[in-house]
Amino acid sequence: MLVIKDLQVSYGAITALHGISLEVREGEIVALIGANGAGKSTTLRTISGLVRPALRTSRITFRGETLFGHDANGKYRAALPHRLVEMGISHVPEGRRIFPAMTVRENLLMGAYSRRDRRLSEAFERVYVRFPRLKERAGQVAGTLSGGEQQMLAMGRALMSRPRLMLMDEPSMGLAPMLVEEIFSIIDEINADGTTVLLVEQNAQMALSVADRAYVLETGHIALSGAAEELARDESVRKAYLGE
């Protein structure tokens, strides 16, 4: 579904990604784990068009369409961030990035911004069933929600566009253990409903427990990849990321 080939990204003189390749297949949950500063967010931000690849030979395709890089006709393409959500990619950014001065309902409406159909009540209903708290707080200003509620809002907002692929950047960040469990079981449900997920996490244990496959990112390189279960048993992964 999503194929990344030789992606290199720099911020000025700093190279954040040194040519990584990865793939997400339809229906999967793929985890991208790694330490702080490894380049996980940069990977997601590049897929979303917020950051541009440093090389024109880097290539990202989604459902066969070229987002970045040379297409079949040899023409260079670089998708604009606001077009990606229309194509079916929805990004839950690091730190939630909800619209703090808007109500919960308005935030969700923003999630449906790219939709041209008028069946928004159905989308609201689906999100409210998954996150009943958001329904209770529909009229509340989002900036006053708790951290966990803000994470739910960010996820609900991303679901409003009915994405095929969801990019999630550290959904567990700063949340109490019980909430982390809840968030991960919701990710599992979202996936079971047919949404493919690329999940970035520092919490490797939780990520590997829900993922089908995983990639380990170390300072801009893919160090390891494989089935999540196998990686969870891998000696070096256990040492470096599972605190053993």
Binding site: V85, P93, R97, Y113
Partner: protein, 295 residues
Amino acid sequence: MAQFLQQMVNGLALGSIYALIALGYTMVYGIIALINFAYGEIYMFGAFTGLFLVLTWKANLYLAIFGAMAFTTVLGLVVERVAYRPLRRSRNAGRLSALISAIGASIFLSTLMVLLHGPATTGFPTLFQNRNFVLGGASISLYQILIIGVSALLMVGLDLFVRYTKTGRAMRALSQDADAAALMGVNTDLMIAITFAIGSALAGAAGVLAGIYFNAVQPYMGLMAGLKAFAAAVLGGIGSIPGAVVGGLLIGLAEIMGVAAKLSDWKDAFAFAILILVLLVKPSGLLGRSIIKKV
């Protein structure tokens, strides 16, 4: 007391004009943290468009206002396209380049009008007979009612637009978090263009109203009005829409009160004294967000 009430009426009328221009400053700033200094000149072009429509096509009041708004909308879009958008695209252009470009656009527009029309001041033909109404000891003229009424109507319209339409919501989202808005599918360039268009339309309307009120239209009228409106936007809290309205009205009142206190030689200085004071004491302004966070 009656004297005071009278100054209030005069101040509100003048302040409404500043408020209309200030709305443009504040909306653009809220979205891209840029001061579009050309709004003063767009206001001036609005006044001239109204004048032109009345003189050559015998347009009535409403046509003059609508025509001026339509023309300045296009002018605002052109200014954004030519003077600002290329700088946003360039990696090397910083905030200072945008500011210089803004000032360049202002000078270009006022000079262009001098070429088209000459530097002289032209009076506004009488569109309707002015009359005075007495209200609790103060008199309010039909012109003042017109200015306050049209301004209030435009401001309420803007408020409803920003609050309840999909585009208005996207503009607010963009001003709160540009990256997150882009992830929702908001086309930043389009929203910036719409914001420039709205601000320019309001400034255009203000130009016609001012032309009628002062019975004077000239190519450099935008400089002072633009700067005072900028002071108004800062006073109210740059980035805040209600702030621009409050700031505009307060600057108008301060100016009129100053004149009433026999300080009319200093008429133009009050706005700037207030501006400096606000920047020293409370840079976020009366209704602004305390943290102005911009990328």
